[in-house]
């Protein structure tokens, strides 16, 4: 005979209160994030207003940046931001979508399967799982690329990419210098190293999103294409890619937003020269790099001008803000620019004579790397590399833990 306890009951008072409270908490946090975003935008715009009144639209069309003469204009930076971002987007999309196709269509898995077939292990209970494992590994590796802090990319670009491309660039300028894009000689940091590193930085974003969109194309559409006698590539180009195109385009827009706002790597690689040049080999400047370099030593009166520049850059932030929370923790470790402006730098620890000093400048690995990378002494640069190793190890550990937790299947 069923007892009272076994019958269904309506929610108890405690359950109802918990439910309402939780819902209110979630709503509160959502509004908080939105309000913070609005406050940031408002503060920047308000701080920029005096400079807007003083310099007007000439700020956007002039080419001189001279704090001594109080002449400020950012056209070279606008050019540099757009040129570097568009070029990086082209390369990043080409390689990113190709990598996503490679991973989503199972080419790797097929290759590993064929390999296993030669030693007749393809149906082995353990080795037979290898094709899927290899694909997951490759996909995770590409996502790890996104975890590498921007300042480490800058460091790598400065000391590995630039020496690597220097001979080729000299040849390009010497032989093909009449073509405008090779018009100047590479003198170290410049547009080309910046574009190369920027493409690598946005590649994981595009690959991850494109791969997701391609995997989301229903199998039955592919089967329909094959059933009509399509070859593999005909099925990909005529059916899979068009169906996934909306998602892939979203990934490209997100990557573009990232490229526009990329600060540290470009601050270290783009050359910080206020010139407008079609040449890939010439140094240039971007809005974000300008802000990163000018802020730490800016006169309080000149801050308004920098805020004006920041307002121009704001629209690039929109896609990033919308995805920001997901990447928050791993990025927090590697973030340089925010720390550069807020925590400044100090060789001293948070603790001073046993007291915690939260309001004083303090040390961080990312800012240390940035400062030391630009110094002319070899042992400082070596220290920068060492710090980069520690930082990357921390960030990768966090990412690997995050990935393994996220991939645990629901049984």
């Amino acid at each position: 005979m069923p007892t009272e306890a076994q019958k269904s009951k309506p929610p108890s008072r405690t359950q109802a209160i918990t439910d309402t409270a939780f819902r209110a908490l979630c709503q509160g946090f959502t509004w908080l994030v939105a309000v913070i975003a609005v406050i940031i935008v408002l503060k920047i715009v308000l701080a920029a207003l005096p400079a807007v009144r003083q310099y007007g639209l000439g700020f956007l069309s002039g080419q001189v940046w001279d704090p001594n003469k109080k002449a400020y204009s950012i056209l070279p930076e606008i050019w540099g931001t757009l040129y570097s971002s568009v070029l990086a987007l082209i390369f990043g999309t080409a390689f990113g979508v190709a990598a996503a196709l490679f991973l989503a269509e199972g080419f790797t898995a097929d290759a590993v399967f064929a390999l296993l077939k030669t030693v007749n292990l393809q149906f082995h209970p353990f080795w037979g799982k290898l094709p899927e494992q290899v694909e997951n590994l490759l996909s995770n590796l590409i996502e790890l690329l996104a975890a590498i802090p921007s300042v480490v990319y800058g460091l790598w670009g400065l000391f590995v990419i630039i020496p690597l491309i220097r001979p080729a660039c000299h040849w390009l300028h010497a032989d093909l210098g009449w073509i405008p894009i090779f018009g100047t000689d590479l003198s170290g940091p410049g547009m080309l190293p910046a574009v190369i590193v920027l493409s690598i930085m946005i590649l994981p974003t595009i690959t991850a999103i494109a791969r997701g969109s391609l995997l989301a194309v229903p199998t039955r559409l592919r089967m329909a294409a094959y059933g009509l006698g399509a070859t593999r590539w005909e099925a990909i180009f005529a059916v899979t890619l068009p169906t996934a195109s909306r998602g892939i385009f979203g990934g490209i827009v997100l990557a573009f937003g990232r490229a526009l706002g990329e600060t540290m790597a470009l601050a270290m690689l783009v050359g910080n020269a206020n010139v407008i040049s079609a040449s890939l080999l010439s140094p240039a400047n971007t809005l974000a790099a300008l802000l990163a370099n000018a802020f730490p030593e800016a006169n309080p009166k000149d801050v308004g001008v920098l805020m004006y520049a920041a307002t121009v850059l704001l629209p690039a932030a929109v896609p990033r803000i919308l995805t920001g929370v997901m990447l928050a923790i791993a990025r927090g470790a590697g973030e340089t620019a925010p720390l550069l402006f807020t925590a400044l730098f100090s060789n001293y620890w948070l603790l001073w004579h046993g007291h915690v000093k939260l309001m004083q400048p303090t040390a961080s690995l990312a800012v240390l790397i940035y400062n030391f990378a630009g110094m002319p002494f070899a042992n400082q640069v070596e220290l920068a590399w060492a710090a980069a190793l520690v930082l990357v190890a921390m960030v990768l550990t966090a990412n690997l833990i995050g990935q393994s937790l996220a991939s645990r299947r629901v049984q």
Binding site: F113, F123, L221, A224, Y226, G227, P242
Partner: protein, 276 residues
Amino acid sequence: MPSAEIAGQDPVSTNGKVDPSVVMDCNIEKLYYGSLKAVRDTKLPVRKNAITAFIGPSGCGKSTVLRCLNRMNDLIRGFRLEGNVQFRGQDIYGPKVDPVAVRRYIGMVFQQPNPFATSVYNNVAFGLRLNNFKGNKAAKVEEALKSAALWDEVKDKLNESGLSLSGGQQQRLCIARAIATEPEVLLLDEPCSALDPVATRSIEELMKQLKARFTIAIVTHNLQQAQRVSDKTGFLYVDTSEGSRTGYLVEFGDSNQIFHDPKEKETQQYLKGEFS
């Protein structure tokens, strides 16, 4: 290679000569997915301008056998066939045969309607474009849609998305898409199981009309449908004697004979509903 005569079964060939009314001759000895033997000993002819139906309980390999006929199983990693399937005098599983070419002559319509996410016109013209058809595509599209009994309903919305049609219309669109390139054989894998009874009847009528131009093979769960529509029927059943489920052909013959006077015990039991 002619298949052997099986006593009591529909004779395919005599004196070693290939019977011209047989378009495809299926001789599956063993079919493996990985280490699982999915189908064994299934030998049956698919006759010209007739509808051949495969019936049987769930998991007996009907769809697997159907997919063998146009090499769609090749898409599954770990698939292996011992035996052969003859089409136009050649084994389509021969070493030099390109599966893509096979599928251009043997088309397939699936259980779930799967029109592409593009316009009705582009859906039907897809096969024509694949084959680099240089003639009047619009005329061919209209002809295919008329043959699929869909033209009157879509002639004003050729540029609308294929996904905007109802379920029955989408399935007829998939049939139009499959017949636009005039393949010799049309394979239909449970084409009506996702549709309501009215749409089902319209597709069955369509199949009877298409029979005059194409050779049709269908897989169906619906015994009444098989009786209404098919000329020949093959009954497949599951053999669990070796520990795993392996499908095999129990009986094949004229539909009238199979449904009213089945010779094998399993067939009799299945048709009486003693197991499903």
